[in-house]
């Protein structure tokens, strides 16, 4: 108890220095937490992917389509429960900066395969019945102020032209991680237009989504599907939804690794700054440590004092940093919704933040602790005056 009191009083001996160190650790922990969250979100799509959904695409590249005629053959593969399909549409709203994911899909099978996209039965039915209808996620609707019944015009890039849709439903995600910034519309609407304008691009899909009875069947079903189209003009590559997401994530992996390195560098930098502060503090108090040793206190006692102060300062910064993470993440989610529609800080990130703060305290305390604990009394006492 006495030592805790002593540590606390030492903590506020140089108020400005302590406050600056705490703020420094807090900012570093906050930056670390936000960067970790960003990296986590990058992989969130893959992590939340269903293990009973497979994605079949052209084995050369996703850019190359597959014939719609594959649909029935895939349906016939044992273990397959349902099949749907879609095309990446790649259009934007009014201006190129208003870009979001939009897909042409086969609605009934697709929504059956994606139960996490929650729509009222009426909205679902209205969407099914209207070939020009579309549905959007709640966040996307909020961003542009769309309401059911609104006419939405997208400008096509891959499929040039002005594309008009009637908003028939606004879905919300079953889980927080469910993507709510997507627009989905009828593949048949796209296909009909292509038949008239570019017939050679009609009756083709970008990918099939395949439901399997149970996750264990995924490898077997994948192999069965791909073997069906072996040596055809459009060979397929079937993989789990997770692997499919990961193939996108891997394209930007270098950036993610760089962000991860930066997040650790931030902690390393504050570690050095905190270590310097603690070393300075210990150097100033060498005569006090020598006095305590003279009175019979041992190296362990002094080590505890110095180490305790170092850890307490860093953990204080850590707690402030963690406390600041939530409003900062909320601010990002609201103000930068276009880039970070879902910016939720995980429990793991919070624990990592606290661990990082603790590491800063431990590492920055090592040298001063050693120095204070091993100081020769006679040498320490000479520092007086």
């Amino acid at each position: 108890m006495f030592f805790l009191k002593y540590i606390l009083r030492n903590l506020f001996r140089h108020k400005l220095r302590s406050v600056l160190t705490i703020v420094g650790v807090a900012v570093a922990v906050l930056a670390f937490g936000l960067l970790r969250t960003l990296v986590g979100l990058w992989y969130a799509g893959a992590e939340h992917a269903s293990d009973t959904r497979l994605v079949t695409r052209n084995s050369i590249s996703l850019v190359f389509p597959l014939p719609i005629s594959y649909l029935d053959r895939i349906r016939g593969v044992p273990g397959v429960t349902s099949v749907s399909y879609g095309n990446w549409f790649g259009a934007y709203y009014k201006d190129q900066k208003n870009f979001f994911a939009n897909y042409a899909i086969e609605p009934r099978g697709y929504l059956e395969l994606y139960p996490e996209l929650m729509l009222s039965p009426k909205e679902k039915n209205d969407f099914f019945l209207d070939r020009k209808g579309c549905i959007v996620g709640e966040r996307l609707a909020k961003t542009y102020g769309w309401k059911v019944g609104d006419l939405i015009t997208l400008k096509g890039t891959i499929f040039p032209g002005q594309w008009e849709f009637v908003l028939r439903g606004i879905y919300h995600g079953k889980e927080k991680a469910t993507e709510e910034r997507i627009l989905l519309f009828h593949w048949s609407y796209l296909n009909e237009a292509l038949r008239q304008t570019v017939p050679r691009r009609a009756d083709q899909v970008g990918y099939f989504v395949v439901g399997v009875k149970k996750p264990e069947l995924a490898p077997e079903v994948s192999m069965a599907i791909d073997s069906l189209f072996k040596n055809s003009l459009a060979e397929t590559l079937t993989e789990t939804e997770k692997a499919f997401h990961m193939s996108f994530v891997s394209m930007t992996e270098a950036i993610m690794v760089a962000i991860q390195i930066v997040s650790y560098m931030v902690i390393a930098i504050i570690m050095v700054v905190a270590a310097n502060t603690m070393a300075m503090t210990a150097r100033e108090r060498i005569s006090e440590y020598a006095t305590l040793k003279t009175l019979g206190f041992k190296g362990g006692h002094l080590g505890g004092l110095i180490f305790g102060e170092s850890v307490l300062i860093s953990l204080s910064g850590g707690v402030v940093g963690v406390a600041a993470t939530f409003p900062a993440a909320h601010w990002i989610e609201v103000e930068l919704a276009q880039f970070f529609p879902y910016f939720s800080v995980s429990t793991e990130t919070i624990l990592l933040e606290l661990l990082a703060a603790l590491s800063v305290g431990v590492v920055s305390g090592i040298f001063p602790t050693w120095r204070g604990a091993t100081i020769r009394i006679a040498d320490g006492l000479k520092r007086i005056g």
Partner: protein, 229 residues
């Protein structure tokens, strides 16, 4: 002056040298010296004569190269770091030139420090601390921080801290060196009282002849060798 009795400090053939690179600088050479129980001894000498080193060796805060130092029944030159710390905590009280109080602790807490290493309860510690603060006349200042006390008062707190464990020996390194004449006189009277009333043995290093006059015995150190006055 107390009656002569078995010496509480017995120093034999004590030598100490400092090393700077390959250079060896002798500080104390073959010192032989006894201090009787209840004696007030002043160690004098010019700067660099080795008096503070001798004091540190007697107090167990520095180690000798050669020779023996027996304090009471304990040969302190053979003690390890940990045993020496324990011995110091119970047997020696320290009074420093610059008081060496912990600035973030009150007078009470500074005095209580050495007792934290004992098995005394909080209440027992409190009784001891209040008793010694009464002895030094600072019971009414126990909640003050060192910065709120004068130099003389700080030194009295330091003396209270030195005697709170009731050690046999008090070692004082220039205890009046940082004080004005009036405060220095008060401190010397207090130390004299500790010898006379409480039977403490005081070993004091000083440059000040006035301070040395209070001692029963003055020893001069000159180039690491001892002479008697």
């Amino acid at each position: 002056m107390p009656e002569a009795s078995a010496p509480i400090v017995r120093i034999r053939n004590l030598s100490k040298a400092y090393r700077r690179g390959t250079q060896v600088i002798p500080v104390l050479t073959d010192i032989n010296f006894d201090i009787a129980r209840g004696e007030f001894v002043a160690l004098m000498g010019p700067s660099g004569s080795g008096k503070s080193t001798l004091l540190n060796l007697i107090a167990g805060i520095d180690s000798a190269d050669q020779g023996s130092i027996q304090v009471g029944d304990v040969e302190i030159t053979t003690l390890g770091e940990s045993d020496l710390a324990r011995w110091r905590a119970g047997s020696v009280g320290f009074i420093f030139q610059f008081y060496n109080l912990i600035p973030v602790l009150t007078a009470y807490e500074n005095v209580e420090l050495p007792l934290l290493l004992t098995h005394l309860s909080r209440r027992e510690r409190s009784e001891h601390v209040e008793a010694v603060l009464n002895v030094v006349g600072l019971a009414d200042r126990m909640d003050h921080y060192p910065s709120q006390l004068s130099g003389g008062q700080q030194q009295r707190v330091a003396i209270a801290r030195a005697i709170v464990t009731d050690p046999e020996i008090l070692v004082a390194d220039e205890p009046t060196g940082d004080l004005d004449r009036a405060s220095a006189e008060e401190i010397l009277q207090l130390m004299d009282r500790l010898v006379r009333e409480f039977g403490k043995t005081v070993i004091m290093v000083t440059h000040d002849p006035r301070a040395a006059e209070k001692a029963h015995l003055i020893r001069h150190l000159e180039k690491g060798e001892l002479s008697v006055t």
